[in-house]
């Protein structure tokens, strides 16, 4: 990886995570490059979602999870006890596997992140909501039905709404946890096109079990197996000329 050492926005240093006594991530060392799309692939239960959720400390919600090592975001360790989680999560946004819009109007969903931060200026809210709905390529479909319940939208639209909801607070990094796994092929294609557009302004880390998807959208790909980072390189290299035998076995479909 020629530009591996420049522009690293996330760096993990010997990061480990345990559920009780069971290790879920073992000595992860990786650097994620700014304004690129990085995919994390691997079989079910390999720890890819856990790793993703370490970047915005969502694992904190699991009562028996505990971590060791460091994760630096913009050179700042986010694994401290006194890390400001609110600030961290506003900097590192997330889109989940299953579209999870709030049971509120489309407008309220997108405005949520701004409102909880205390934004009250209605004109500004309207303007920012429109901006992120445009960024998420949803404005043309919902621009004149903003008051309608978000639950009336299709699955693909809901997922793009969740993306807009994450974009509105202007994060630097967007984590996506198998964002297309509940979507049909057309919605998936739309989402992938979006990811490609968004990387000029954001750093994107995407977990996927779909290797074609990783090959299509990611600049870099990390292969995780049993909580271990087996190989991490440019996507092209991973899919055409992997160094590790286990990576080759996985991408050629010999297991997983």
């Amino acid at each position: 990886m020629e530009d591996k050492n420049k522009n690293l926005i996330i760096q993990t240093e010997n990061f480990q995570l345990f559920y009780g006594d069971k290790p879920a991530l073992k000595h992860i060392n990786m650097g994620i490059i700014k304004n690129r799309v990085t995919a994390i692939i691997g079989p079910s239960g390999c720890g890819k979602s856990t790793l993703l959720r370490a970047f915005n400390r969502m694992n904190d919600l699991i009562s028996n999870a505990r971590s060791e090592g460091r994760i630096l975001i913009d050179e700042e360790d986010i694994c401290n006890k006194d890390t400001d989680l609110v600030a961290l999560r506003r900097k590192v946004g997330m889109v989940f596997q299953k579209p999870n819009p709030f049971p509120m109007s489309i407008y309220e969903n997108v405005a949520f992140g701004l409102k909880i931060a205390g934004e009250k200026d209605r004109a500004r809210l309207v303007q920012l909501v429109e901006k992120s709905l445009r960024q998420a390529a949803l404005w043309d479909e919902v621009g004149d039905i903003l008051d309608r319940s978000a639950l009336t939208l299709s699955g693909g639209q809901q997922q793009r709404l969740c993306l807009a909801r994450a974009l509105v607070i202007e994060p630097e990094i967007i984590l996506m946890d198998e964002p297309a796994s509940a979507l049909d092929p057309i919605s998936t294609a739309k989402l992938e096109a979006l990811i490609n557009n968004l990387k000029k302004d954001y750093t994107i880390v995407i977990v996927t079990h779909n290797m074609q998807q990783a090959a299509r959208v990611a600049d870099y790909t990390a292969f995780l197996l049993l909580g271990e980072l087996v190989e991490y390189d440019e996507t092209r290299k991973i899919f055409t000329n992997p160094t590790d035998k286990r990576t080759e076995d996985y991408i050629t479909g010999r297991f997983g």
């Binding site: 915005n56 969502m58 919600l61 009562s63 989680l85 609110v86 600030a87 999560r89 506003r90 946004g93 997330m94 989940f96 299953k98 999870n100 819009p101 709030f102 049971p103 509120m104 949520f112 992140g113 409102k115 909880i116 931060a117 319940s149 639950l151 969740c162 909801r165 994450a166 607070i169």
Partner: protein, 295 residues
């Protein structure tokens, strides 16, 4: 085997039939005997001639007043406790289990015990303390609406705690995650995502306790309900008349049973309709909220 199957099915069906027959009989009797009595005058006048004539307005008024004050005591404590149990308490710790067990046991305590507790704690302890502290003479240290409402609130706490806790827990985890991922604090997550969705469930608990509170007699027997009052209570420190207690009084203390009977049926009918209306209101609200939140 087939024969037993049939007998069992028949027996269970018969039990349902018997229960319904009783229910129908009770309601029919009350409606038939009470319907003629319930008039505008009956609802708006005070009882006269030793409760053999006149209406039940003071009792209706007292019941509504009582239930309102009860709700003011009940809801903040009940909902906060439900929030604690669902959101803050360590879910599988022994302490939390003990608290849940205690709440369940509280629900099983006979209501007359709550009534006596009300006398001991609210009137003789809290009331006397208040009077002493404020330099008053027997204002709070006597049976009154305030303490009756407080006693009734304690009686209903388990219902509200449980329904609130369950309503809060029913909010999907993925909505909580979404809120946290957007930088919500725990408080904002609760206030903006959880409570709006749990609202209909919490409200159901509230209305259930209101309709139950309107009919309970034992807890208010010693804590504030009056046999008969020549005036309408204005302050929470006044005594009051109440529908359930009024029914008890009319059926046991009337100087002329024959003349009181129609009034008695009418009062029961009013109490039943009041409770029915409250329950219907609860169901309506719940359906509306469900539709709004798509669940």
């Amino acid at each position: 085997m087939k024969g037993w199957d049939k007998i069992f099915a028949l027996a269970s069906g018969l039990c349902v039939l018997i229960i319904f027959a009783f229910l129908f009989w009770i309601i029919f009797t009350i409606a038939r005997n009470g319907a003629g009595t319930v008039s505008w005058e009956f609802l708006t006048a005070a009882p006269v001639e030793g409760m053999t004539e006149g209406g039940i307005f003071p009792a209706i008024y007292g019941t509504v007043f009582l239930v309102l004050v009860m709700t003011v005591f009940l809801m903040p404590f009940g909902v906060m406790a439900g929030i604690y149990l669902a959101e803050y308490a360590p879910q599988n710790s022994r302490l939390t289990q003990t608290i849940r067990l205690a709440v369940n046991n509280l629900a099983g305590v006979p209501s007359i015990v709550f009534g006596l507790f009300g006398v001991g704690f609210f009137i003789q302890y809290a009331g006397r303390g208040l009077d002493l502290a404020l330099g008053l003479e027997t204002v709070f240290s006597q049976p009154c609406l305030l303490w009756a409402a407080a006693t009734l609130a304690i009686l209903n706490l388990p219902v509200v705690i449980k329904t609130s806790e369950e309503a809060i827990k029913a909010v999907p985890e993925e909505h909580r995650e979404a809120a946290y991922a957007l930088g919500a604090t725990k408080l904002k997550e609760i206030a903006r995502v959880v409570l709006p969705q749990a609202f209909s469930g919490i409200l159901t608990g509230a209305i259930l306790s209101v309709s139950r509170g309107a009919g309970e007699v034992a807890p208010i027997l010693f804590t504030g309900a009056a046999y008969f009052l020549p005036y309408i209570p204005k302050l929470p420190t006044d005594q009051f008349m109440e529908l359930g207690y009024h029914i008890f009084v009319m059926s046991t203390q009337s100087p002329d049973v024959e003349k009181t009977a129609p009034l008695l049926y009418g009062t029961i009918l009013v109490l039943l309709l009041l409770t029915l209306a409250l329950n219907a209101f609860a169901i309506m609200l719940r359906v509306r909220m469900r539709r709004k939140y798509g669940r």
